[in-house]
Subunit: 343 residues, 2 copies
DNA sequence: TTGTAAGCGTTATCAT
DNA sequence: ATGATAACGCTTACAA
């Protein structure tokens, strides 16, 4: 019975105004709950708008305000045309962080645009912001020495760095507090009677990786631990396996093998298993990230949980602060030690 | 020396026009490479624009054209506030598909907006399109019986379904061709002397899962295979493990266990391993998807590759066709059989 | 070949 | 309390 107001022509503020016998500006104010509009008018306008099936144009609002209400999330991405293989950062890292960002900015009516970064230069990024395609950027998976943040900063384009930061610059970032993590881990290891360990480093192209090198080296003595060997695991399973094999050739195994992430830890475990060594009986193995992988493999990994969702959420919050004209500081979130079977 | 034209005030088409001694419309046409603009003018305009550091406003263009040039990618997402655990579809599936979409639509200057679907109703989605927040939708991870596509269709809002379709409706979709996959798989199994097998089904909430039930049942006899048992693996590792345990209690194991996806296959393998059965010596196990997981576990999984990137790419292409006013049909892409160690 | 003018839907300013 | 008007940056008839 209720005749569905199926709008044949588009209905705008003008249509609503005409139908309500008011001016467009009053409609605008009523809909935006401006003060100084009597409750009665407000209600009437809203009723008319509803009956007309009026949907405000985000585009009109954006255009007027010169704000797109979009945040560009920049993530490294290349596809090898030959093999078709994707070269990007870990899916799980990306997804969880992305949802964290969305979760944070959604209440402010911001939306997230994914930008596949296959070598975009600073100019291209700046153009996206200047053209109001996005209002700012969140960077994921940036490599050490990337000059784009600085370039954007010079153009006053807002951005937040994730798992990255710029030494000597007060750029807002959200990073993992590796030091706190390794303190927890070393405490655990020491309590298990571990005296020495090998360090399987990450990909030195990332700031976090080289940071962890330094942190591990510096902290070990505090916990009575000897850093017996340092090898690169390149954050990859294969890198881990190769490091594990190298370790096995080097004579006596240390009490523990501390790996810079989950994947390389699993590679190490594979190498050990192939050589007939048992984890954790013969040697303990620890990891970092706590990806799905960590519980999937055998033995399940003792690892430091990298709270991707939370990190994304905080980055989103900083982005909003930036939009409000504030200057949010950098922040490091503490990982949680997850003790499972491997150590 | 070259004085950097750092725009203090915003430079628009008007600025460029004034500087070039032309009208704004000519500038517009020159920049858009319209026919009927002499090469000389075009060049001059472009030079001036460049020297002024002019960046066209996407917002202005969008506003005028009433098109946002954004595609909304809708993905199920819920976060359990208590545990903080994310409930969403697989990260890897999401990421690869998303990048496929981006890859396809980027050349047409479309951009992708991720929409976390925590129970958005059809009205909310329609409002996003009607407000020109996005021009259309790509749906991921839809469950059987979801009425939203039909509702959007009635409002003439363009969308593409991925790994989903609507029987009896010509909605554009991109799905995996499970039948072709199982033909390849059964051929392989038969060649290995397999005579009977157990089917570990997926989550019946998804269309693909129930389709595979039917396909497997129908196809088996063609290949001289007996479907000895049917159990649900719920697409999950735990579901697979439980199914595996049930199978082990049921007396003699069939020659093979065909699982509806990788995760449940791994669960089955865990159950078998716990019971001291070897894969593939005692029983062959097959999977579906070819996620990272497939090579991570031991034994590496023989599985059907679900080409997520390609599926996303095709969906993006269909989206563009829809925007051109065409009515693209549904499409099923063939999975590739990847033979590894588990079968 | 180029210019003029209108219009996209919104909000803010200034009147009334 | 409400109305008229301008402005945001762009494109596209229509005119010249």
């Amino acid at each position: 019975m209720a005749k569905k107001a199926r709008p044949r022509a588009k209905v705008t503020r003008l249509t609503v105004a005409a139908r309500a016998g008011l001016s467009p500006s009053t409609v605008s104010r009523a809909l935006a709950d401006h003060p100084g509009i009597p409750e009665s008018t407000r209600r009437r306008v809203k009723a008319v708008a509803k009956s007309l099936g009026y949907v405000p144009s985000d585009l009109g609002r954006s255009f007027y305000q010169k704000k797109s209400f979009r945040i560009g999330v920049v993530i490294p991405f290349k596809r090898d045309p030959a093999s078709g293989r994707l070269r990007t950062i870990l899916s799980e890292y990306f997804s969880k962080t992305l949802f964290g960002i969305i979760h944070a900015v959604d209440p402010a009516r911001y939306t997230v645009n994914v930008i596949a970064d296959g070598g975009l230069d600073a100019g291209a990024l700046a153009a996206m912001a200047l053209s109001h395609s996005v209002d700012g950027f969140v960077f994921l998976g940036l490599r050490a020495g990337d000059g784009r943040p600085r370039a954007l900063h010079e153009k006053s384009i807002p951005f937040v760095l994730i798992h990255h930061y710029e030494a000597g610059h007060p750029f807002p970032f959200v990073d993992i507090d590796s030091e706190s993590g390794y303190r927890a881990l070393f405490t655990h290891l020491a309590s298990k009677g571990v005296k020495d360990f090998a360090w399987i480093a990450g990909d030195p192209g990332y700031l976090d990786a080289t940071d962890r090198d330094r942190i591990v080296e510096r902290l070990a003595p505090e916990f009575g631990l000897t850093l017996a060997r340092k090898l690169s695991g390149r954050y990859s399973r294969r890198g881990g396996r190769e490091a594990g094999e190298a370790l096995l050739k080097g004579g006596r195994l240390p009490h523990a093998i501390v790996c810079a992430n989950d994947r390389s830890a699993y590679g190490v475990i594979e190498a050990l298993r192939a050589a007939g060594r048992r984890v954790p009986e013969d040697v303990r193995v620890t990891a970092f990230d706590n990806n799905d992988l960590a519980t999937l493999v055998t033995p399940a990994l003792t690892t430091l949980d990298n709270p991707f969702f939370e990190i994304g959420r905080l980055a989103g919050l900083k982005m909003l602060a930036l939009f409000r004209g504030e200057m949010p500081s950098g922040e490091r979130v503490k990982p949680t030690l997850i003790v499972r079977d491997s150590a």
